[in-house]
């Protein structure tokens, strides 16, 4: 197996290169002095500076944060409650609910976006940041529910029985035993939800009204106009934030002492 191991190892590195090189190049060229995109003319922070002054970008970042935080809070609460319901109880409609939760992830975003904009149109609802938030909650709830549910399923129920046995009432058991032990899963779900919200383009493009431009929407319009290093700069920053959040979420999702599992 040794011979094969070396070839496979080399191949693996090629794939990693393929995965990371485009992003790396993007990041590197965000520091490029020249606007002629592929020619390296020395390093600079100019593009980051101009970003900081770009009113449109700043406004879109603010919008993204508002939507991200709002949708994450709602999605995390709803999703955690749903995970508890699914993980603990038998109730009518449980099977349907499980399938229902997967739908927003499975059905193409194009379709969801189209459906929502039509829906809001029928309701004569003005498109705004709130319509965007509502849309984000829809698919973020599913992600949170799935993540927390996974964490719950590994939960040792005998711990709750032990707490009851030792004199704690059900509510006390929930706060002293259950919640501390599933908290990392809830936080991981929240981080995931926030990341998805920050990065979403397709659905948001359908349901955002004037003045509700989020960061991905802003980036997209900049891309359509032309490629400038400023786009590289904002992409780099967004990547950085996302990666940090994801790494934290991954760490929280693992019980201590285990390897990475998805």
């Amino acid at each position: 197996m040794r011979r094969r191991g070396r070839w496979l190892g080399a191949y693996a590195w090629l794939v990693y290169l393929f995965l990371y090189a485009p992003i790396a190049i993007l990041v590197v060229f965000s520091f490029n002095k020249s606007t002629q995109t592929a020619v390296w003319a020395g390093g600079t922070l100019d593009w980051y500076r101009s970003l900081a002054r770009n009113e449109l970008i700043l406004a879109s970042v603010k919008n993204s944060l508002i939507v991200g935080v709002a949708s994450t809070i709602i999605a995390t609460v709803f999703g955690t409650l749903a995970a508890l319901a699914l993980g603990r109880y038998e109730f009518r409609g449980k099977g349907i609910t499980k399938n229902l939760l997967y739908l927003p992830i499975i059905i193409p975003e194009i379709v969801i976006g189209a459906a929502l904009v039509t829906f809001f149109g029928v309701l004569a609802l003005h498109l705004s940041l709130w319509t965007v938030t509502l849309a984000h909650v829809v698919f973020c709830v599913s992600f949170v529910a799935i993540v927390v549910r996974a964490r719950l399923s590994g939960f040792d129920r005998s711990l709750e029985e032990a707490a009851l046995d030792l004199g704690a009432r059900p509510v006390q058991t929930f706060f002293r035993v259950t919640l501390p032990l599933i908290a990392p899963g809830i936080v991981a779900g929240a981080l995931l939800s926030f990341t998805i919200s920050i990065d979403d383009y397709v659905v948001t493009s359908f349901v955002a009204g004037v003045g509700a431009t989020t960061l991905p929407l802003q980036i997209y319009s900049m891309l359509k106009v032309g490629v400038t290093p400023e786009v590289n700069a904002v992409s780099t920053l967004l990547l950085l934030v996302t990666v940090v959040l994801i790494v934290i979420a991954q760490r929280l999702q693992q019980p201590p002492g285990e390897g990475v599992r998805d």
């Binding site: 029985e161 009851l164 046995d165 030792l166 704690a168």
Partner: protein, 373 residues
Amino acid sequence: MSSAAAPSVGIRSLTKRFGDAAAVDAVSLDIRRGEFFSLLGPSGCGKTTLLRMIGGFELPTEGSISINGADMTRTPPYERPVNMVFQHYALFPHLTVEENVAFGLRYKRVPRAGEGKRVADALALVQLAGFGKRRPDQLSGGQRQRVALARALALEPQVLLLDEPLGALDQKLRKEVQVQLKHLQRSLGITFVFVTHDQEEALTMSDRIAVMHGGRVEQVDEATRVFERPATEFVANFMGASNFFAGRVREAVNGTVALTLKAGGEVRLATEGVQYRVGDDVRFVVRPEKLDLRLRDLSGHGVPSLPVTIEDRVYQGVSTVWIVRDRADERFVVYEQNEKPFEETSKFTVGGGAYVCWNARHAVVIGGGAERQ
């Protein structure tokens, strides 16, 4: 029940059904104060379900449970003066050993100052003094088991329930802990209800044993009686008394009954108060270690002797197991202590003939599911 004091745990016609199947079927038991009582049986016999109902983790479908005279059938676990040591210990992973042991104390309205002492005492009881600041994942299996014990004992329960707590320990440690638990129970005087599938374990530790099968109690008795005098075929088999003899009553006189064995020959047993009629079919059991192999027929001396052919011989270090067959092709197992040095050849040979003999006192007549208190 002889004394006026209520039993520690009183179980009346307790039934638990899951769908159509009864995991526990109309069980009635009295567990006495201060005794080490074991629920013994194969997996699926209902012993754990019964234990969980005593603890309050399952609601009985029918019947009642009382603890020290008070009815607790529907009382939730946090209101029962009963504590449980769980099979996989159920230690809270996010709390230290100390915090685990102290967990239930705040519901007993023990002042915070007093908590420390209670925790220290409990840990000392299980020989884990000084382990307070460790976390469960830093402990060995045996240590975790002791923390679980300390946590339950810190609340000074009237009854302690133990759900196969020694299952995860290796053989040597198990035997040590069995003895320690027994001594602990004796010194504390608390009623212990212990669930196990290991008959040796139950015999080592228990005052009395309830053997369970299919949701019912087949026999409740002192440990020695369960072993020496099994009441039913199931109990006999479970405790390893697998030598069944079949015979027909020839005459019953003077407190003894003469049986003609199916394979030929005759034995006399004490009637023990049972009325036998001529022609009745009787089954009795003799434990393998109570059987002796002899070269000669001793029935002339009043010792039951069954002619057999030796089928196999298995050396087991401490003992030798002889597999023999009688003339009716029934199989019997004889345990022989290896007292002689192994260089000495045995008188018996595989394929050869011999007689299986036993003391008539060691024959146990098997009835059907007799429950004795």
